[in-house]
């Protein structure tokens, strides 16, 4: 029994060689924007890190308001390498959302959503919303003061939406207030509902990418671009990035361990300077600047609806930008994209500085 014989045996049953052939055909276009091709894979890698560390944390975490905080404290103090797994999970979540944003913006500016790749974009935007929900639900799980109030404020904002807001708030909170019931259902979302949806959508997303191949930026379209084999050339380069990412995560966990804070107390007043996680900060800061009343409408409602509308526009980008042949339209979309990006960055910085 040698390796070769095993390979043959498996191949006869799993068509491994067919898969290998398909894989060997995959190519990556080489041009000045090739570097952006790495970010999708990096996001997927970080998602895998989340799944692995998340499952490990599941072995010790307890999702009830009496035990959650203590169980995380237990993980960080008593469990061997618990501090490492927990800090990696928290840091990787943030890095994943960062790379996800970079991936999305690069796809936007390189117009990779053009036909026939519209559904790849749609599944991608849904994955963005799922990732953000992962972040919001996961943040509450340690049940510390900061998370408790961030959740309170966040769900309060959701409740402001007209008509559906109140039922949505009750659905999210498991009641009228943020309580142990909220924690339990956020846990359910975080470890079951969202992972299932994410897995399905990631499957669709990656499959579509394989189906349509890597998109080329408009200006290279039709030209003869140099191609690089995905296996093993690009994949090995991907691997370098992933190995370095592991290094970054280890460094962050050891040098900047994630804070535990104090156990949440429903009756204590909110601590000063409550802020949501950085990926919500630009919206939070915007809401702070909107005046209380705009004509006869509640300022907060206007803000939320504007952002929701923005999310809808984001979702529909491939259909809004049908003819990417038009120079003018390309400029409009580029300018708009740059402005949005700048706005998000500036508002996030302002949110931290003030």
């Amino acid at each position: 029994m040698n390796l070769r014989a095993i390979k043959l045996w498996l191949d006869e049953r799993l068509s491994l060689s067919t898969l290998a052939e398909i894989a060997s055909k995959k190519e990556v276009p080489l041009h000045r924007q090739t570097i952006w091709y790495y970010f999708g894979g990096m996001t997927l890698f970080l998602f895998t890190v989340q799944v692995v560390t998340g499952i490990l944390l599941l072995l010790y975490y307890r999702p009830s308001s009496e035990n959650a905080f203590e169980s995380v404290q237990f993980i960080v103090t008593e469990v061997k390498f618990g501090w490492l797994i927990r800090s990696i999970h928290s840091w990787s979540a943030n890095l994943m959302i960062a790379t996800l944003f970079i991936h999305m913006f690069s796809v936007y500016f390189l117009r990779a959503y053009r036909a026939p790749r519209e559904m790849t974009w749609l599944s991608g935007v849904l994955l963005l919303f799922i990732a953000v929900c992962f972040g919001f639900s996961g943040y509450l799980l340690p049940w510390n003061k900061l998370a408790f109030f961030a959740t309170k404020v966040g769900t309060e904002i959701a409740g402001v939406i007209p008509i559906v807001g109140r039922p949505m708030l009750r659905f999210l909170r498991g009641g009228d207030d943020v309580t142990g019931a909220t924690l339990t259902r956020f846990f359910g979302f975080h470890v079951a509902v969202l992972p299932a949806s994410a897995t399905m959508l990631i499957g669709i997303h990656v499959l579509l990418v394989q189906l349509h191949g890597m998109s080329v930026p408009p200006k290279y379209e039709g030209t003869n671009v140099k191609k690089m084999k995905f296996v093993p050339n690009f994949l090995l380069r991907d691997l370098i990035g992933w190995i370095l990412a592991i290094g970054v995560l280890a460094a962050l966990a050891a040098l900047f361990p994630w804070d535990l804070g104090e156990k949440a107390d429903a009756f204590a007043p909110a601590p000063a300077g409550i802020k949501p996680e950085w990926y919500f900060l630009f919206m939070f800061q915007t809401l702070k600047y909107i005046p209380a009343k705009l004509w006869k409408f509640d300022g907060e409602v206007v803000g939320i609806l504007t952002f929701s509308f923005g999310a809808l526009l984001l979702f529909l980008v491939p259909f809004l930008d049908r003819s990417s042949g038009h120079q003018r339209r390309r400029l409009v979309f580029n300018v708009f994209g740059v402005l949005v990006l700048l706005y998000m960055v500036v508002m996030t910085i302002v949110g931290y500085v003030t």
């Binding site: 960080v76 090995l236 290094g247 040098l255 804070d259």
Partner: protein, 422 residues
Amino acid sequence: MNPQDNRAYLRGALGLAMILTLFTISYGQKKDSCVECHTRLGGKLAEPVKQMKNSVHQSRGLSCNDCHGGDPTQDEKEAAVNPRTGFIGTPKWNEISAFCCKCHSDANLMKRFNPSLRVDQEREYTTSVHGKLLAKGDQKVATCVSCHGVHDIRAVNDPLSSVYASNVAETCSKCHANAGYMTAYKIPTDQYVKYKTSVHAKAIYERQDLSAPTCNDCHGNHGAAPPGVASVANVCGQCHVRQAELFQASPHKPAFDRMQFGECIKCHSNHAIAKPTDQMLGAGEQSVCVTCHKPEDKGYVAAGQMRAKIDQLLKSVDRSTEILNRAERAGMEVSRPKFELREAVDAVTHARVLIHTSSPAEVEKMIAPGLEISKKDYQAGVGALDERSFRRKGLVVSLVFILFLATLVYLKVKQIESRQTA
């Protein structure tokens, strides 16, 4: 007249009498000529009526005649204030006590209004400095109305009462802080000012903690007199039980009583009782011990030893707190040792109480376990910081490996590609 007519007349007369009586009675109940007249007269004469409005006496259905006598059903002044109706006008200063205690010393009567109220105020008053001086003819001393008010007397637990816990000190200070008024008595008049700087006053006025003492809690209210110098510890010991017990068993008690030092007061003062500090103990500048003890006498040595022990534990606790805080700031989880350190802090509190025994051995009984705990927690802090540097070292090692691996993969890529182009 025939018998039937007589009976008819009788019935009619009875009926009329009944109606008239009813009218008179109902009129009599509503009729309070004192209130009516005095209100009508206005000015100073109407003041008593105004003051009565919120008083506890009026709320129990009492009126002017219940204290002053007289007949409130009579509109004519002479008839209303006729001494034959029992009218007592304004009582003389030295008669006020008897005037009020006409009711307040009558247990059967007071039972009808408030069964738990004491009825021995007059007896207590006669034992007080105020009562004794009054009996000698002094008209400047306090009697019932000086503290309780005259017509606007409220219940003691009414926050607007002049004898409510947080108002007592001001009420007493009306005389006792008035230097001009008190000249003849040759006692200090700075008690109120001093009291207001004390921890007890801070508790009452800043935290609304009415369990803290004010003038009457130490001096008594009706039997007001300074406690005897040999009873001070008993008075303070009502709340500060441990300190009093320990003091009374210590060599200081017989010594202080012999020298008329006033026990607790000698070190802690009577009115300006400040939060005690460790500086009060030992041989230092701010120490109270050196007021009596000379260097090399037993007490001086003991004081120094007790202070040294407490300082030692405090220093250890500070050291442990500092290292645990450092570990916490570095991101390590040290909430358990921090909690356990509270026990060591508790030991300091207990040790500070035990100094009232004047025995270093007693203090040591509390210090020793405290030091153990503090040392253990210090070790926990050291351990946490060690773990942190272990993690950093581990990080460096793993980063070296990771970079090494990444470089190797890079070289492999280069190798594959050079072969592909070849």
